[in-house]
């Protein structure tokens, strides 16, 4: 079986597929790729099923040496990319010979780069998924230099197209629907939420992204009993600074959810570095 050796892994690289949906009632977060459309694209380029496991690379730095011939593709946050020192492009199938090293630099913009390999990363699944859940520890640990990742053998034909890299956005617009707990906020507070320009805070990981901006004060007293949290929930803790939940978020929470962001917006948010401007829009 072909495998790849991790010869460099940057600050935080994890195996991710599309996660473990259907287990939230047991407290198991869905997890999976934070920018799902980028992982899907990388898988399509190498001829995998869209839900195959690849590597999610935070802030670049991954380097993989393959033991045999390998087809790979790199999507998401664009990075300088080299095979044995030769510059190659993101967004297209790359054909590596045995022993060659694929090396990712740091993102030109964006945060998370995805590497798919034909056949998929074939680490042992846990509860039906190979994803690392950064919160609960389910799935494989984060990648470490020197580790070898098994690669599966089943895949289709690699694509011959080249897709343009992810574009850089001056302002990330998150389409959302108000509720379920928008009645915890006065009308003018909801107006503020929808019209303000927010800033991605330093407190941003696979669990959620804290946004900095005006304070969203509650319009009522009391506590909310713990309730289920959907993907993209915009939870407002007592500090009034909202948190948008990403794939490793807790399945239940006790603070009101003012709105829920639709999934394309979550992919964009997963690429937003601290300091990025964010706006909400209804729809």
């Amino acid at each position: 079986m072909t495998d790849v050796e991790v010869v460099g892994c940057g600050p935080y690289a994890t195996v991710q597929d599309l996660g473990r949906p259907g287990l939230a009632h047991l407290g198991v977060a869905c997890s999976g790729a934070a920018d799902r459309s980028s992982l899907r694209l990388a898988n399509r380029l190498v001829g995998n099923a869209e839900d195959a496991a690849g590597v999610e690379v935070l802030a670049g730095g991954l380097a993989l040496r393959c033991s045999g011939a390998l087809v790979a593709a790199v999507t998401g946050a664009p990075v300088p990319l080299r095979i044995d020192g030769r510059a190659v492009g993101v967004g297209t199938a790359l054909h590596l010979h045995a022993g060659q090293v694929l090396r990712l630099g740091q993102p030109v913009h964006g945060l998370r780069t995805y590497v798919a390999v034909a056949g998929g990363v074939a680490v042992q699944p846990v509860l039906g998924s190979r994803s690392t859940d950064s919160m609960s520890g389910l799935g494989p640990p984060a990648l470490a230099t020197g580790q070898r990742l098994p690669v599966g053998s089943e895949h289709g034909e690699a694509s011959t197209v080249e897709v343009p890299p992810l574009s850089q956005l001056d302002v990330v617009t998150l389409r959302c629907r108000l509720g379920p707990r928008h009645d915890w906020f006065a009308g003018e507070t909801l107006e503020t939420f929808l019209t303000a320009t927010w800033t991605v805070g330093a407190d941003a990981d696979r669990v959620g992204v804290r946004l900095e901006g005006p304070t969203l004060a509650y319009d009522r007293d009391g506590q909310l009993p713990s309730e289920g949290m959907p993907h993209g929930a915009v939870q407002v803790p007592p500090s009034g600074q909202p948190i948008v939940f990403l794939p490793d978020h807790g399945t239940v929470g006790g603070y009101p959810v003012v709105a829920v962001v639709s999934e394309p917006g979550l992919d964009l948010l997963a690429q937003a570095v601290p300091g990025t401007a964010v706006r909400f829009a209804r729809g």
């Binding site: 009632h25 509720g179 993907h231 399945t251």
Partner: protein, 209 residues
């Protein structure tokens, strides 16, 4: 039915407000057994809510699910017989003295109050296998600690408000630690099913010396 209130929760979710835990369990059982179950990715009970999430390829079914939830008759749901699960506990937790001081109970009375409570699994959440068990006696109820611990040892038996729980893994946590469970783990991914307890199960804490 007038006792449900269905709230929007994004493009593919609905949140149903319910009067109490038993209504949540009844509606969850009804939804799982209904014709709509196949269109749903998640059915997530909370303390007094039920979150339902449609599969990404079945978002169109959400309106029908909402109408069904409004008119559901959970009394027709299949009943699952709750089990009684015994959890052996050594009451030597780091917060026991503090809990005694804040509740005015002696060490023995605090332990007896916890041990003799009538507990049911209300819902699971927070982390895999973390079962919120309701039924902590009024005399022992305390809000969460003002400063959460960055890591609570696995197996810790803890209380917060009306809930008690056994930490299924070492995680951050803000509950008061009364002791440690020394029996079967609450969560084990190599076991089928991985969770020790299910919704509605009765939990009996058995004091070990």
């Amino acid at each position: 039915m007038s006792w449900t209130r269905v709230l929007p929760a994004g493009q593919r979710s609905l949140l149903v407000d319910l009067p109490d835990t038993s209504a949540v369990h009844a509606l969850a059982a009804w939804v799982r057994a209904s014709e709509h179950a196949g269109a749903l990715e998640e059915i997530v009970p909370g303390a007094s809510t039920l979150l339902v999430v449609a599969r990404a390829d079945r978002i169109g079914a959400l309106d029908r699910v909402a109408a069904a939830l409004e008119s559901a008759d959970p009394s027709s749901a299949p009943d699952r017989e709750p089990r009684t699960i015994e959890v052996p506990v050594v009451y030597d937790g780091p917060d026991l003295a503090d809990v005694c001081e804040r509740t005015g109970l002696s060490r023995d009375d605090a332990v007896a109050a916890h041990r003799d409570g009538d507990y049911r699994v209300a819902f699971l959440g927070f982390s895999p296998g973390f079962a919120f068990c309701c039924g902590v006696p009024d005399t022992l109820q305390l809000p969460r600690r003002s400063s959460p611990r960055t890591s609570v040892p696995v197996g810790s038996v803890a209380i917060a408000n009306e809930f008690t729980a056994v930490y299924p893994a070492a995680t951050p946590g803000g509950w008061h630690l009364l002791g440690r469970a020394v029996g079967d783990p609450m969560w084990d991914t190599d076991r089928e099913p991985p969770q020790l307890v299910e919704l509605g199960d009765r939990i009996v804490f058995v004091e070990q010396s």
